[in-house]
């Protein structure tokens, strides 16, 4: 039995907002043993980050601990003042944040930033601090650390920046490290490397770690104990195995179901009770196009070069038939967004051609494509639902916009009926239509974005990471919605994503992109089960999968 390092007892945290006091954390009780890694999992707004901030006393001015105790080595953190507090922050416990680039000082060399952190807590000479900083860069496995000492944050990749953050966080050998979404926003392969590193360092130094994440798979891979939070409370605490095989709480059940696994299908993403009605849709077999039907979309040797720079996309060719779903996967910088925008005719390709339904559209300038009769046949769903709706348009206006522009409808009853019909198809409650985007949740905004894209009944829908900014439970619903739309309306989907699990479930075929070129393509199932290239294999292996043993199968 190891020593208890942190004991959170009935913690309450409130924020004062313009709508009065909001309770973000309402009665969290949690213990962390020395040296263990605890996963704190929940969706956005569950209070998991606030719990972390309260523990390190980094709550912003509007937040206040209104009840409960946080005992760190028997000392109540919430009552610490002055020097005691400074000793605690950084030296005894430290924190890693979600966006490493924003957390680093952009105008100071990283070596100096690490040395600064050391000098804050230790009375040693500057040279000694620099020597220690160099050691830390070695510890976080940054290549060529001597040269990197003088690098600035913008010269490093996101993964490198996070390593520097880890180096700063461990510089004073804290007993507890709180990692708040440390790998969100990093590519899957980088995510795995950074998390492996973090786990190794924690184990080697005997540091306890709280891993705050929305990703159940990630927590399951690295933690031996997971606490699930929902609306400010811990609803369940168990080992990953127990959590996945026999989830007790209804919320955990939903979360576990919604987290994609190596073998899950779209229809598995909801709990049994919610599954009814979906089976009929799944069983609707797609009508195979008659033999000899020309493809809906044919892309030939597409290339894009931006001013002066190297090619963002080179020699990209693909075909899609009507109602087919194709996944376009790759890490950031692979050119997948550029490709999708060229196919959508929002930017012009430098070379190559795009043939849609037998007509060449690659040479129509993107600035003129809005007049093309094919504009309404190719629609797009954009990445971040929070940014893809005009802040001055209500949900109704957003959905009505393409109908008025592309279908020539005028304001009136007919338009209202069409908008309501679209809203119903995406499962958006009609009473939300008069709302502005900021009055909608992320999932509701995503639905508005999809409703807008399908309003004119397009034949090809390009989706640019439509679920990347969403919680898993919302993602599950959106994926089902897309799958249903495809089956019911025979819309072809080009699904751009870095999330291989999602692509595997939704797409018949998958194309893997790297540095602007196609690495591998084929049937999704075959490609994921038996990748032919090393790169694809690396991508597939990096996905944090949830163990799906026989126990889980039995539970379902």
């Amino acid at each position: 039995m190891s020593e208890t390092l942190l004991e959170i007892d009935d913690l309450h945290v409130s924020f004062s907002t313009r709508r009065g006091l909001v309770e973000a954390v309402r009665g969290v009780t949690l213990t962390v043993e020395a040296g263990e890694m605890l996963g704190l999992v929940g969706e956005s707004g569950s209070g998991k980050s606030v719990t972390g901030f309260a523990t390190t006393r980094l709550l912003d001015a509007a937040g206040r601990v209104t009840g409960g105790k946080i005992l760190f080595r028997g000392q109540d953190v919430t009552k610490l003042r002055g020097d005691d507090l400074r000793q605690l922050q950084g030296a005894a416990m430290s924190m890693i944040f979600q966006n490493p680039r924003a957390a680093l000082n952009p105008i100071r060399a990283i070596g100096l930033q690490i040395a600064d952190a050391i000098l804050t807590h230790k009375r040693i000479s500057k040279d000694a601090a620099r020597a220690e900083a160099l050691e830390l860069l070695r510890a976080v496995q940054i290549r060529d650390p001597e040269a990197r000492m003088n690098a600035y944050p913008h010269e490093l990749s996101g993964g490198m920046c996070q390593r520097v953050m880890i180096a700063i966080a461990i510089s004073c050998n804290p007993a507890l490290l709180i990692a708040d979404e440390p790998t969100t926003g990093l590519d899957v392969t980088t995510q795995k490397v950074v998390m492996d590193l973090l786990a190794d360092i924690a184990a080697a130094r005997g540091m306890a770690t709280i891993l705050i994440t929305h990703d159940l798979g990630l927590a399951a891979r690295y933690c031996r104990r997971i606490a699930v939070m929902e609306r400010g409370r811990i609803v369940e605490e168990a080992s990953p195995r127990t959590l996945f095989s026999t989830p007790q709480h209804a919320y955990t059940k939903r979360l576990v179901a919604a987290s994609p696994t190596a073998t899950s299908r779209i229809e598995d993403l909801v709990t049994d009770e919610e599954r009814e009605g979906y089976a009929a849709v799944v069983n609707m077999a797609r009508q195979e196009p008659a033999h000899g039907t020309p493809p809906l979309l044919e892309v030939r040797k597409l290339a894009k070069r931006f001013d002066q720079g190297a090619a963002a996309v080179a020699d990209f060719s693909m075909t899609m038939s009507g109602g087919e779903s194709v996944g376009l996967v790759g890490e950031s910088g692979s050119g997948k967004s550029t490709t999708s925008r060229m196919i959508c005719r929002l930017i012009d390709p430098s070379e190559g051609d795009i043939v849609f339904d037998g007509r060449s559209i690659g040479h129509v300038a993107s600035r003129d494509f809005h007049r093309s009769p094919l504009r309404k046949d190719i629609q797009m769903v954009f990445q971040d639902p929070n940014e893809s709706l005009n802040p001055r348009f209500t949900a109704f206006d957003c959905i009505a916009h393409p109908l008025m522009r592309l279908d020539g409808m005028r304001a009136g009853d007919a338009l209202r009926r069409r908008v309501e019909e679209c809203a119903e198809r995406v499962g958006l409650p009609l009473d939300l239509l008069p709302r502005f985007p900021h009055q909608l949740s992320g999932g509701q905004k995503a639905r508005v974005g999809i409703a807008r894209a399908i309003a004119c009944r397009p034949r090809l829908l390009v989706l640019d990471e439509p679920t990347a900014a969403l919680d898993v439970s919302v993602q599950a619903v959106v994926l089902q919605l897309l799958d249903r739309l495809r089956r019911e309306n025979d819309i072809a989907l080009l699904f751009v994503s870095h999330d291989l699990n999602v692509v595997r479930m939704l797409c018949d075929r998958t194309i893997v992109l790297r540095n602007g070129g196609i690495v591998e393509q084929g049937e999704s199932r075959a490609l994921f089960e038996n990748p032919k290239t090393d790169y694809t294999r690396k991508l597939v292996e990096a996905i944090p999968h949830i163990e799906t043993g026989p126990a889980l199968a039995a539970a379902l």
């Binding site: 929002l346 007049r371 954009f382 940014e387 005009n390 802040p391 393409p402």
Partner: protein, 282 residues
């Protein structure tokens, strides 16, 4: 204005009494500008030498000037001219500046660089001196004060609109608008411009105060409005001759009117930002 907007405005004003006071002040100035000629107790132009240079009293609330004209009446009549100059000048520079700036910010490239350098050159001039030179060259008329004031305000609007549009040009809803069949042209005019309005409104309100000061300043140094037309700047200029003999009211009241007008517009600018920003609505 829908009832929701109205309710929201009331809510904002309640939480921010200073804005409410400023709004009331601006409304008062506008009412005075409109109804001035009907509420003044005396004729602002006709002189009455027998009552020259009288200190403030019940009959003459702000005293009389060297020609025996009632200062209070002149202040009230002057409001219309001063506000008209400021509003039309700011209106012109806002419309031109916002459109030019928005297109530059959206298009980028050569157009943006060209206009950007031109604006830099303009801002390198002392702007008030530039306005003086323009009025002197174009002729001493009120239209020319408006034009000069509009031109020296222009760089601020261009820069402001450019920066605001530039950060939004690649945002999802702009691309979505294009996918919905909007041309680049209408994306700028119908999507980006309305979205930068809240930020621009603040600039407009702050600028109105500055434009009033500018017009008064031009008149003060003898350019633009000519006596005997009542105008706050001229009144300060004429009154300044008498301040050494203790006739403070000739300068103090027009100065106070100027200060209050500028202050009200500036305070209102801050308040307006909150009201016009739909994200503040919950």
């Amino acid at each position: 204005m829908t009832s929701a907007t109205l309710r929201h405005s009331v809510w904002i004003l309640r939480g921010n009494p200073l804005t409410a006071v400023a709004a009331a002040g601006v409304t008062l100035f506008i009412l005075i500008a409109i109804f001035g000629p009907w509420i003044v107790p005396y004729d602002p132009i006709v002189s009455n030498v027998s009552e020259a240079l009288q200190p403030p009293s019940a009959a003459h609330l702000a005293g009389t000037d060297q020609l025996g004209r009632d200062v209070f009446s002149r202040l009230i009549i002057a409001a219309r001219l001063d506000l008209a100059i400021a509003v039309s000048a700011v209106g012109i520079s806002f419309v031109i500046g916002a459109v030019v700036g928005a297109f530059c910010g959206y298009a980028g490239g050569k157009l943006d660089r060209g206009v950007g350098r031109f604006v830099d050159v303009m801002m390198a001039f002392p702007l008030f001196v530039l306005a003086m030179a323009m009025v002197a060259a174009l002729g001493n008329r009120i239209e020319n004060i408006v034009i000069a004031t509009a031109i020296i305000n222009l760089p601020f609007y261009i820069r402001f609109a450019r920066a605001e549009v530039n950060v939004r040009r690649n945002v999802g809803w702009v691309e979505a608008a294009r996918a919905c069949g909007e041309s680049h042209f209408s994306v700028v005019l119908r999507f980006l411009l309305p979205n930068i309005l809240p930020a621009m409104a603040v600039q407009i309100s702050l600028n109105l105060g500055w434009a009033i000061l500018n017009a008064a300043g031009l008149s003060f140094i003898g350019l633009g409005v000519k006596p005997p037309t009542p105008e706050w700047g001229i009144m300060v200029a004429e009154g300044a001759r008498f301040i050494s003999t203790g006739r403070w009211w000739l300068v103090a009241f027009p100065g106070l009117a100027l200060m209050m007008a500028v202050l009200c517009f500036n305070l209102l600018g801050d308040g307006m930002r909150d009201i016009l920003d739909p994200r503040m609505r919950t």
